[in-house]
């Protein structure tokens, strides 16, 4: 682990008596790409604004390389922001927009010109210096905003849902571009998004937020494969939740659980389990195996929906007890029977060891996890 660049301690912020951030602690390492992920209103944008200095926290501290930032005005913080709607100055040319920060630093003219040209070359806009923002496409405006923010060589770049206004294809391109820029510049990126796919594909670490509280902090893989709670499991990707009951909790490293009438042996989870306890067995749709109806394994059900997705075939299967199962399978070119008709009987199973166990939460928390995700 690299050394910590920005350290947040006990950060609290309320608006009109409503707590938006609740005693938040977070360490951001030098040079990492960290994503703040959560539904709208979860506090992720507020956190970014606190870091930038646009808001003042009610309590807590923000320190950058050991230096307290709370009482430092935004213009004096060595961080720069890429705004959601770019916030380019409409009366200035592309050049003047990018040069703005350097002019404020009163840099010599030659240096400004050289650095602006470098920054624009980095985002492949060197031929657009004289244009006004309104003469550029959305993607180009986005690039200018990025060039304008990195030209000052900040210690950290804060990105507030910078890709949300772009169409799908451009978004993909910009995701790759941003990753490349981050690698080349070696600047720490703090990226805010509500798009879990974006978060997983771009980040070194993901912070999952809900109601101003960190739900989970981990690598994209940890967050996806080993969600810390029901909320994270539901918010990040699609998940099947099967009710389970612990049959035998005393067998060393493994436990036996009754899932939908099947007795399966699982690795012991890292929370305490006792005999007879109810828990959730989580399986991602791609962990599910759909088998022929005459197979002996798994549970019988019927296909009620099939969605052709190009590279995968996604289906919804109703088990006999009414449980709904989402399955996502890669096409197998060699299997001529690979496809379903609606109503077709099948059996559902999964690969042993790919499931993830979570304890039951309070009824309220469980209901909330469903509505939020």
């Amino acid at each position: 682990m690299k050394k910590t660049l920005l350290s947040l301690r006990n950060l609290t912020k309320q608006f009109d008596g409503k707590t938006v951030l609740d005693s938040l602690d977070l360490d951001i390492a030098d040079g990492e790409f960290i994503t703040l992920l959560g539904p709208s209103g979860c506090g992720k944008t507020t956190l970014l604004r606190l870091m930038a200095g646009f808001e003042h926290p009610d309590a807590g501290s923000i320190s950058l390389a050991g230096e307290e930032l709370i009482d430092v005005a935004p213009e004096n913080r060595p961080l720069n922001t890429v705004f959601q709607h770019y916030a380019l100055f409409p009366h200035m040319s592309v050049f003047d927009n990018v040069a703005y920060g350097l002019k404020m630093e009163k840099r010599p003219k030659d240096e400004i010109r050289q650095r602006v040209e470098e920054a624009l070359a980095m985002v492949q806009l060197q031929d657009y210096v004289a244009r006004k923002p309104h003469q550029l496409s959305g993607g180009q405006q986005q690039r200018v905003a990025i060039a304008r923010a990195v030209v000052k060589r900040p210690k950290m770049l804060l990105l507030d849902e910078p890709l949300s206004a772009l169409d799908f294809k451009l978004r993909r391109t910009m995701q790759v571009e941003l990753k490349r820029l981050q690698r080349e510049l070696g600047i720490t990126f703090v990226f805010v998004t509500h798009d879990q796919e974006e978060a997983l594909s771009m980040s070194d670490r993901v912070v999952v937020f809900k109601d101003g509280v960190v739900q989970q902090l981990g690598t994209p893989r940890e967050v996806y494969e080993r969600p810390a709670n029901l909320f994270t499991a539901r918010f990040v990707g699609e998940t099947n939740f099967f009710p389970g009951r612990v049959e035998a909790a005393d067998a060393g490293d493994s436990i036996t659980v009754d899932v939908l009438g099947l007795k399966r042996t699982f690795r012991r989870p890292d929370f305490a389990v006792v005999d007879g306890q109810s828990l959730h067995v989580l399986l991602r749709p791609e962990d599910i195996r759909v088998l022929a109806p005459d197979d002996t394994e798994g549970l019988p059900g019927r296909v009620v929906e099939r969605n052709y997705k190009g590279s995968t075939l996604d289906s919804v299967i109703h088990l006999e007890d009414g449980t709904e199962v989402l399955a996502s399978e890669f096409f197998d070119e060699d299997d001529p029977t690979f496809d379903y008709r609606l109503g077709e009987p099948v059996r559902v199973s999964w690969v042993d060891g790919w499931e993830w166990l979570l304890p039951e939460e309070s009824a309220a928390a469980e209901a909330e996890a469903v509505t939020d995700a």
């Binding site: 213009e75 404020m104 003469q135 923010a149």
Partner: protein, 285 residues
């Protein structure tokens, strides 16, 4: 022709708009232009031959002085309106939702009363034994009444009072459109409050400033009843000159020429306004 018949609504609208522009805008203005180059006639007001005597008369030192003094008072009025209106509109745009609507409503309420009546009301306030002097005397702040009425200041006060909303409303509109994100971006890039004001806020509100100036400066040269009521004989506006030429001196060519000068001034201001809007990427009107 067939297509016109097939689209009766479209045709009706076009005829209405063009008819309006031709008969109520173009024709009267052409008449004024025509009158300005005619010869003064005591019987029929104007007659041939055509000449530029009226325009030459504008440079008569006497009228030139009236013109410049009027321009000076109008400029003062505009400046005062801008100094009050700019921060006012800025603050107004930051007031939350419903209260903002209420304040705009209050700004418009005075329009419900005829401006002539309101100017007379102002006279009662400013008169030697008026409300303001009585109040100041009563408070013991002054020993003898101030001469406020029939001064240049009274005219400017009257014009500011009548025209301030015309400055505030276009300014409010540009401040309302000013995205807070742009100010944050400016701070984020290292600009303090003062630098942000001059580099971002002023250029982006300039179209509103020019629109406000347009709506205040020109009427401030023309509202003849304000000096009539508040200004005495020495503080005349171009509007008074025009009115006198048409109604009292019966010199129509000269009155028409004076009013054309005002129209041309207006055209220049509109052109500047259009340029300022193009600069920030909006289509000029």
């Amino acid at each position: 022709m067939r297509s016109l018949m097939q689209q009766p609504f479209r045709t009706a609208v076009l005829v209405l708009v063009w008819g309006w522009l031709l008969f109520l805008v173009l024709a009267p203005n052409l008449l004024v232009v025509g009158a300005s180059v005619a010869t003064r006639d005591p019987v029929s007001f104007i007659s041939l031959p055509l000449n530029l005597d009226a325009y030459r008369q504008l440079f008569d030192p006497l009228y030139l002085e009236v013109f410049l003094h009027s321009l000076y008072m109008a400029a003062m009025t505009t400046l005062v309106c801008l100094l009050i209106g700019y921060p006012f509109a800025w603050a107004l745009s930051r007031v939350p939702g419903r209260r903002q609507l209420l304040l705009i409503f209050l700004l418009i309420v005075p329009f419900w009363t005829n401006s002539l009546v309101r100017t007379y009301a102002l006279k009662l306030l400013l008169a030697t034994n008026g409300l303001l002097n009585s109040a100041l005397l009563g408070l013991g702040w002054i020993d003898e009444p101030l001469k406020m009425l029939y001064t240049e200041g009274a005219v400017v006060i009257g014009l500011v009072y009548l025209l301030l909303p015309f400055m505030i409303l276009p300014l409010y509109s540009v401040f309302d459109d000013l995205r807070q994100e742009l100010l944050l971006a400016s701070h984020d890039l290292g600009a303090g409050r003062v630098a942000t004001f001059f580099h971002v806020i002023v250029p982006l509100t300039l179209p509103g400033v020019l629109a406000g100036v347009m709506l205040v400066l020109l009427p401030a040269m023309g509202l003849f009843f304000v000096p009539d009521i508040l200004g005495g004989s020495r503080n005349l506006l171009v509007g008074n000159v025009i009115k006198n030429q048409f109604l009292d001196a019966r010199n129509w060519p000269f009155g028409a020429a004076a009013s054309i000068v005002l129209t041309i001034t207006m055209a220049f201001l509109m052109f500047a306004h259009k340029l300022s809007k193009q600069r920030i990427g909006e289509d000029g009107v």
